[in-house]
Amino acid sequence: MAPEAAVKTRFLQGNEAIVEGALAAGCRFYAGYPITPASEIMELMSERQPALGGTFIQMEDEIASMGAVVGASLAGVKAMTATSGPGFSLMQENLGFACLAEVPCVVVDVMRGGMSTGLPTSPGQGDVMQARWGTHGDHPIIVLAVSSVRDSFAITVQAFNLSEKYRVPVIILSDEVVAHTRESVVLPESSEIVVVDRIAPTVPPDWFKAYEDNSRGVPPMAAFGSGYRHHVTGLVHDVRGFPTEQPKEVADFMARQFRKITNGADEIQMTRRILLDDAEVAVIAYGSVARAAHRAILRAREHGLKAGLLQLITLFPFSKKAVDRVLRQCRAVVVPELNIGQISREVKRVNLTAKVAKLNRVDGQGLTPDQIYEELLKL
């Protein structure tokens, strides 16, 4: 055990843990716009960033926040923003730019209930598909889901690392329950945290081609002002970054966008397997619902039902392998969600060897362990 003095137990809410995770990962730029239930993230950022020599700015809307985040990242600083559903909708435009221009950045969406203004203070998981497909056009993106305060810290660090490594925006889906639940956590010392930074070019500036392919499919990234003058555009571009409409160049560009993510799938697709080894039935869940599901499988086991839980941390690229394994092993699974069935559909697309049941709640309330347990009994 570590000496008592070295262990610092903190009593944090999910939103605060996201800030701590981002700062530990090296985030030194935050731009945002107030929105419930995400505002604590920006409030804390406004206090913490300047003390660390970083920057916080409150922008005029979420469109501007996302633009500023992309700009800061292009200038070489790790950047993030946080919002909830309505603001996330506004961010989609410049999020698409970040995908196309391959600009690392992290966007937190603390999901609330309903469409439009919906249920601002209630939990929901209705933004799963928006996180994957919210911006127009085929695009690569990574979507992670947090289920606890501890996760909110660790997964945020991971989000920055993946974003930097693959030059792709990473979305963190939290929800109102995770965001505002206070839990005591022991945050790791900074020396224990692995931080990944984007790779800078090593060739002389004259040789630099900003979007040249390599074995990883991830070109080194030069910050504005580092001597590597180049062009960044939201138009499809050639290896030098200049707009192109040549079918071969366009096809190569698009192929690389997806290849870089596929190449890293083993590392990107994170799941948590709980009591699955001998499971006959399973729950596949994510976010705050995964915690209710954990309790539900424990209760099922107390009553002699061999139940397990596959918690999805990475929602996209969808963890087909891990889900496939569970579906082949179990006779039935249930996918509880605070939406009308966004991930259950993805589960069904993997294979049809097991029965896949849905359990959905969209009345602004969380799913309880009892509800999930009862569903397990019906399988």
Binding site: P50, S73, R229
Partner: protein, 284 residues
């Protein structure tokens, strides 16, 4: 070609970029590009230190031709990206170039807030009074009564006065020039770029193809003559009545204020936050 022009072309244009450019023959944007290059050269700025960001439209294509750090963003959002770049690397000179629709319709909110915030950016707004690239739809600066592809019976809305909007919103430096009055334009851009704080240079330009043809000015010469005859120096414009200024516009410097920019203000915030953090650390 004069020797100075050869030097500037060699120094500032990208040689690996496919020319010719996208603009129509006689377009005013090329004149703006020339003026911008001369202003940067006169100021002796290092190309590595300049970030040139644009939005979408004909003006959006300007950065790709020049050998700076260049950024072609989304429609109306150039200032938001520029804000991020400047805050992340304050040592860079960040210049944005936008069109009238770009800066004052879809990007209007960003424009007024950037002016209010007074971050050290330069906003060049090329005002040709029309959406050119998309085919001649009316913009926020299309004059009342003018024709556009979405106003075939005459425009019934009234135009924004971009420079005055910028003054009201709090920009530290505001000027208006035209692509006809080029030596003055060179100076205005130079002043705007050199200014610390948010500076706006509105440039009246010609889109004879999409605006002029529908409004009895179907060639660049006619539009140049219109600029020559409609422009009034700021000092004389102030002496004139509203009626006398009808259909005309002022050129020159409209505002040049001495006030602390956002970065100077934020530097104070950093100091306070650091002191506060140190105090808390000590307490613990």
């Amino acid at each position: 070609m004069p020797e100075s022009m050869v030097r500037l072309r060699k120094e500032y244009l990208r040689h690996d970029k496919k020319f010719p450019h996208v603009w129509c023959p006689g377009c005013g944007i090329g004149i703006v590009l020339g003026s911008l290059i001369r202003a940067v050269d006169k100021l002796g700025l290092d190309k590595d230190e300049i970030v040139l960001a644009s939005g979408i439209g004909c003006s959006g294509r300007l950065p790709v031709y020049v050998d700076f750090n260049t950024l072609h963003t989304t429609h109306g959002r150039a200032l938001t990206f520029a804000t991020g770049v400047k805050l992340a690397r304050p040592e860079l000179k960040v210049i944005t170039v936008m069109g009238d629709g770009d800066a004052t319709a879809i990007g209007g909110n960003h424009f007024i807030h950037a002016a209010r915030r007074n971050l050290d950016l330069t906003a060049i707004i090329i005002n040709n009074q029309i959406y050119g690239m998309t085919g001649g739809q009316f913009s926020p600066t299309t004059p009342y009564g003018a024709k556009a592809t979405t106003a075939s019976f005459g425009h019934v809305e009234h135009a924004f006065n971009i420079a005055e909007l910028a003054v009201t919103a709090g920009a530290a430096f505001v000027a208006r020039g035209t692509v006809y009055h080029v030596p003055q334009l060179d100076r205005l851009l130079e002043q705007g770029i050199a200014k610390t704080g948010f500076s706006v240079v509105e440039i009246i330009s010609n889109c004879h193809v999409q605006y002029g043809r529908r409004n009895e000015m179907g060639d660049p010469v006619k539009m140049m003559k219109w600029m020559r005859d409609s422009a009034v120096a700021v000092s004389s414009a102030r002496q004139k009545s509203e009626k006398e200024m009808q259909g005309r516009f002022s050129i020159g410097v409209l505002a040049d204020l001495d006030k602390p920019d956002y970065l100077a203000e934020y530097a104070r915030i950093r100091e306070r936050a650091k002191k506060e953090a140190a105090r808390r650390e000590k307490k613990q």
